[in-house]
């Protein structure tokens, strides 16, 4: 991009893509903002009227809102913890030379290709079901009382299901990072008298820092909006025990037909997501600088 002409040509060339993406974002955002200031109920079509901040007041004082915030944070934090720790351990295992390495790696990635609704339904009906699930069968075979995961520990169960989906992603990214580590560094550390655990702590983990950052950033974006897994398993319940912000907005606008309230919730969610993003960038974004 040396000359003035080539630079303006470049701008011209990328403008359709930029305009399309911008429009794709701006139009729904503007409509959401507009709806959030309306009294807009699907049961009363044609009765929309301007209500100012009422929708926000109702949404933000709803006790379910604070449950939802707390659940969202627990869900994101729990899944990140499981996938990053598990991903590092799995990557370390998969990095060892084993027979059938290629097949094993494909098997490890497989859960990522299963769509969220399907995997959540499989977990719900084939594993966690207190009558037909495999865990119930195991419990009965051992003479124990089957545990009803989705009603006794709904949020933990959902965290587990979502972790299962995201673990392959974390493993894959961390495995490639691990493979880019210069083996001479490890040998040098070995000569310098560092036993395996210290080699992991002082050499491998710092090398993985950037990959871990990428995993955390990308996963956070997707985990803030987990929806399908909750819809097909617990429906946010019992009560609000497994309702996150996304699900609460769905309940507000489509189950209670209150589009205005739902839009207000959507705007709140955008603001919160941005706050999380700023914190994340502050905390770990510096790892991304070369």
């Amino acid at each position: 991009m040396a000359t003035k002409a080539s630079r303006s040509a470049a701008r011209l060339m990328i403008s359709p893509a930029v305009i399309l993406l911008l429009g794709w974002m701006i139009v729904p955002l503007a409509m959401t903002l507009y709806f959030s200031f309306l009294r807009y109920n699907l049961l009363m079509p044609g009765m929309e009227e301007w209500t100012g901040l009422t929708n926000y007041r109702f949404f933000l004082t709803d006790p379910a809102f604070f449950d939802a915030i707390w659940n969202t944070l627990l869900l994101v934090g729990g899944v990140l913890l499981i996938t990053v720790t598990g991903g590092i351990l799995l990557a370390l295992l998969l990095d060892q030379p084993i027979w059938g390495q290629g097949v094993v790696r494909i098997l490890v990635i497989a859960p990522f290709f299963v769509m969220p609704t399907v995997s959540a339904l499989v977990w719900k009906n084939m594993f966690m079901n207190p009558v037909n699930g495999i865990f119930a069968h195991i419990a009965k075979a051992l003479g124990l009382q089957p545990y009803d995961f989705l009603s006794q520990a709904p949020l933990a169960s959902i965290i587990w299901i979502v972790s299962w989906q995201w673990l392959p992603f974390a493993t894959l990214i961390l495995l490639t990072a691990l493979q880019s580590l210069d083996s001479e560094q490890l040998e040098a550390a070995e000569m310098d008298g560092a036993p395996p655990l210290k080699r992991f702590w002082f050499i491998v983990l710092p090398h993985l820092a950037r990959a871990i950052t990428v995993v955390i950033l990308i996963q956070t974006i997707f985990l803030l909006s987990v929806f399908a897994e909750i819809l097909v398993t617990t429906n946010g319940g019992p009560g609000t025990a497994s309702t996150n912000l996304t699900y609460l907005i769905y309940v507000q606008s489509l189950l209670q037909f209150d589009v205005g309230g739902g839009s207000a919730g959507g705007v709140v969610a955008i603001v919160l997501a941005n706050i999380v993003a700023i914190f994340l960038m502050r905390m770990i974004g510096k790892n991304l600088d070369a």
Partner: protein, 334 residues
């Protein structure tokens, strides 16, 4: 102390025997260079001494005690890697202090030793930088610093200069030699560059396909190479080999004569040929003389300002007492 003895050391990767049983003694305080073409097993041999590879047979003794099964960290050796293998996320100070930290030294002790090493290696201004912010030569010095703070019984260098440019390489060569003179510690140095071997070594070990071809001081190897391989490998430009009738006249299968032991004349001499490519270095000129009927081309060294051009007829005369004779198997005929 750093006397390293290899006793029938063997290394096999699966079925392939990379190093057939090999005996070698490295005396305390010696600067030993392993030299050979790539793939000759010199790096493997170094890694066996370091303990980064397990031997398949034989014994490695360091100062008389059997170290064959001792883990690398406990052998008291320090290694400088070809890629330097610095820890990129640590400052120079932390890099150099790493082995001390692993050994559990106090912070004050660590600081003292790191600063002493930095002083020796002119690294003091860079102690708080990261390896990524240093030049190749500085990184090399950090790697050496990390080795010397451990006060090892012996240093192992694995082609440490091959990533540097030509000018820096000459400088670092001197620095390493000076370091050896000052520390008087055993050094084992691996290279494929015979110039490095000649200039730095007390003792050169020429390797080919895992076998030791010859062990000796640089000048011993230069004056009396034991076979054609060593004769061709040591010396630059390489020795000219002549087979056939001319060799038979000397009672050998092949004779070898170094470029610097051939006199050039435009008027008279033993062999007649034409000047091919000439390389003018200023101090010397190397002529590739063709059409002698002895070999494809014979390299000769002449003075810096000889007025000969491409296509000129020249006469060459070898110095009679500098002719090396080899038999059919390539071994030297005394």
């Amino acid at each position: 102390m750093g006397r390293i003895t290899l006793d029938k050391v063997t290394k096999r990767f699966g079925e392939v025997e990379v190093i057939p049983p090999l005996d070698l003694t490295i005396e305390d305080g010696e600067f030993v260079v392993f030299v050979g073409p790539s793939g000759c097993g010199k790096s493997t041999l170094l890694r066996l001494i370091a303990g980064l590879e397990d031997v398949s047979g034989g014994q490695i003794r360091i100062d008389g005690t059997d170290a064959t099964a001792v883990p690398p960290a406990k052998r008291g050796l320090a290694m400088v890697f070809q890629s330097y293998a610095l820890y990129p996320h640590m400052s120079v100070r932390k890099n150099i202090a790493f082995p001390l930290r692993m050994a559990g030294l106090s912070q004050a002790e660590q600081d003292r030793k790191v600063e002493a090493a930095a002083e020796v290696l002119n690294l003091t201004p860079y102690l708080d930088r990261r390896p990524g912010q240093l030049s190749g030569g500085q990184r090399q010095r950090v790697a050496i610093g990390r080795a010397i703070v451990r006060e090892p019984a012996a240093f192992l260098f694995d082609e440490p200069l091959s990533n540097l440019d030509a000018a820096l390489r000459v400088g670092m060569r001197l620095e390493i030699s000076e370091l050896h003179n000052r520390l008087k510690t055993t050094m084992v140095y691996v290279t494929h560059d015979q110039v490095e071997a000649m200039t730095m070594a007390d003792k050169i070990v020429v390797l080919q396909a895992g076998r030791v071809e010859q062990v000796g001081s640089p000048l011993e190897l230069y004056r009396a190479p034991r076979n054609r391989f060593v004769a061709g490998f040591i010396g630059s430009p390489r020795m000219n080999f002549i087979e056939g009738a001319e060799a038979a006249a000397h009672g050998a299968h092949a004779i070898g004569i170094r470029p610097e032991h051939i006199a050039v004349s435009t008027t008279e001499g033993a062999w007649r040929g034409r000047v091919g490519v000439s390389e003018h270095l200023g101090s010397d000129t190397f002529f590739h003389v063709t059409g002698t009927g002895l070999a494809d081309a014979i390299t000769v060294r002449a003075g810096g300002e000889v007025d000969l051009h491409h296509g000129d007829a020249v006469f060459l005369t070898p110095e009679a007492d500098k002719i090396h004779r080899f038999d059919r198997e390539g071994a030297r005929i005394a």
